[in-house]
């Protein structure tokens, strides 16, 4: 199937996140961050949390932004939805990006809205030509509207669709080729999905267009079992990064080279020093790639 060159050439050379570890910004840590100015590559926010008129969220983010690179990560655009994108939401994103001028904007390969209901979860879509067409249209529209390249995140899924005609890595590769968007490679999601669907995580990663990886996510998962007694992993963002995910991260970095890496923690949020220490573990791996002598020291 042929498709024209992306219709939305990214405007001007896009700013990029530093190839360092970053941490998800949480209100509990606002003051500590400003008081201690930790040596962190960047912070990431969920766009929708900042779609409020004013108050402490904007107060602290404005000050933190003065000292750190920023990634704006959307969780509510519903790029995988059957329905058209919500223009009010796109406009709200535009206002947020204008205000904070982040180095990166990303969203998910998922859907979360139906009619006017927001389901507050990242839901799976079948990998079919129809989904491909729709997702590409939505990404084209988003990139055009926001006048910037976006990153698309690979999902964590618990079910697969009988009607899928493409595997996930091929689907994502084709979306990136058609739209020119970048890849936010969530290594935890790769581990979760590949475990849940009996696939080889390393082979999945090798099948992706790794030159387009502009950010990596690391997070923790919860573990259950399916009705066959096989592991069923749940992307909880509520635990430290598991060793299997650190191993897959090392494998990934060996293929991609150093890439901005976010430690995602949205539930059971620990004290700041615990998150910082986890980010420093990722930073040491990144440093080993860029400055092998220093990393050994």
């Amino acid at each position: 199937m042929s498709h024209p060159i992306p219709t939305t050439p990214p405007a001007a050379p896009a700013p990029t996140l530093p190839a360092r570890a970053g941490v998800g910004l949480k209100p509990e840590h606002f003051q500590t961050i400003l008081q201690t100015r930790p040596d962190i590559g960047f912070f990431e926010i969920h766009a929708e949390n900042y779609m409020v008129p004013g108050g402490p969220f904007h107060h602290y983010l404005t000050r933190i932004r003065e000292h750190y690179a920023l990634s704006v990560h959307g969780v509510g655009l519903s790029i995988g939805a059957d329905a058209p994108l919500d223009m009010n939401h796109l406009n709200a994103l535009q206002r947020l990006l204008d205000k904070y001028q982040p180095q990166s904007f990303s969203e998910h390969l998922a859907w979360s809205t139906h009619n006017d209901v927001f389901l507050n979860d990242l839901l799976p879509a079948p990998y079919t030509p129809a989904t491909l067409q729709r997702v590409c249209e939505h990404i084209d529209q988003t990139q055009t509207h926001l006048k910037r390249r976006m990153l698309l995140e690979n999902p964590a899924t618990y079910v697969e669709f009988a009607e899928s005609t493409m595997d996930e890595a091929s689907f994502i590769s084709e979306v990136l080729r058609r739209t020119g968007c970048g890849l936010l490679l969530d290594v935890n999601n790769v581990h979760v999905s590949c475990t849940n669907h009996g696939r080889d995580a390393q082979a999945y990663i090798r099948a992706l267009p790794l030159a387009q990886v502009a950010e990596i996510h690391l997070a923790g998962f919860a573990q259950a079992t399916d009705t066959n007694g096989d592991p069923l992993l749940i992307d909880s963002h509520g635990a430290p990064v598991a060793q299997a995910v650190w191993d897959l991260y090392a494998h990934t970095l060996a293929l991609t080279g150093p890439v901005a890496t976010l430690l995602e923690r949205d539930n059971d949020i620990p004290p700041w020093p615990v998150l910082l220490a986890e980010a420093q573990m990722a930073d040491r791996q990144l440093l080993a790639l860029t400055h092998p002598e220093e990393a050994l020291a």
Binding site: E48, S112, N120, D121
Partner: protein
């Protein structure tokens, strides 16, 4: 066949069967896997309500609260991806939820807690300089038509119950055992220096603040307050508003004669 409408409908209605059209690599039951999505959605909505309504939760207990929140969430899923205000209509639900009919003050406590959420995220508007307010108050010609605009974080929560005391008893300030829930109270909620504050207002001051918010002139608001509460003290009321820097704008009713511009 699977579709997003079917998927979405089944997510919010646990009595419905798992949609068809899923496959699993090892032949395990897709319904159990679909239940992960159901659980994610429901837990996230209940958690969002628990974040916004900690005192309501404390008053009825966590287990009961989560069961009540589940009933609410199934009937009232979010209509916006901005989750900060999810459950802004929880008080209306609580008001008519039969199992809490024995806790008649619960809905008003929910109103107070939601006001605190609105207040926390309200727009940033700088307060008016004290001198500007004093100058307008000192000029009888201005005073007669003077309108005060209050900060967007200001909310007045009137109640036929002791809404302030019930809330305050859960802030470690007072003992719940000393609260008489049937004592009518009005609470004032506002943001000052990045903190949301909650105070009890006398009925007169509450009337005065509400009248100002309804764009009454200062003399009209003061008259309304005096009518309701003969002991109303205008100086005290203004001192409260000035102390917390809640006046953001003055007008004298004439757009060409705006002392703050």
């Amino acid at each position: 066949m699977n579709s997003q409408p079917t998927f979405a409908h089944a997510l919010l209605n646990p009595e419905l069967p798992c949609p068809s059209g899923f496959k699993t690599w090892n032949g395990s039951d897709p319904a159990q896997r679909f239940a992960v999505y159901r659980n994610n959605v429901m837990v996230s909505l209940i958690d969002a309500l628990a974040d916004s309504y900690p005192v309501v939760q404390a008053l009825v207990g966590e287990e009961f609260f989560r069961a009540m929140a589940r009933v609410f969430a199934m009937a009232h899923p979010p209509r916006s991806p901005v989750m900060a205000y999810y459950g802004h209509d929880f008080a209306e639900f609580v008001q008519t939820f039969p199992p809490v009919a024995t806790v008649p003050y619960l809905a008003d406590v929910a109103r107070l807690e939601m006001a605190r959420v609105w207040s926390y995220h309200a727009a940033d508007v700088p307060p008016l300089a004290l001198e500007a307010v004093q100058a307008a108050l000192a000029d009888p010609a201005q005073l007669i038509r003077l309108q005060l605009t209050l900060h967007p974080s200001v909310h007045v929560i009137p109640s036929t119950f002791a809404v302030f005391a019930l809330w305050a008893a859960h802030q470690g300030e007072t003992d719940m055992a000393t609260v008489d829930p049937d004592q009518p109270q009005t609470a004032l909620v506002f943001r000052h220096a990045l903190e949301v504050n909650t105070l009890e207002l006398s009925s007169g001051v509450a009337q005065f603040v509400s009248a100002l918010q309804a764009e009454k002139t200062l003399p009209e608001a003061a008259s309304a307050a005096l009518e309701l509460a003969p002991e109303f003290d205008l100086t005290q009321a203004l001192t409260l508003l000035l102390r917390w820097q809640l006046i953001t704008h003055l007008t004298t009713g004439d757009p060409h004669d705006d002392p703050t511009h």
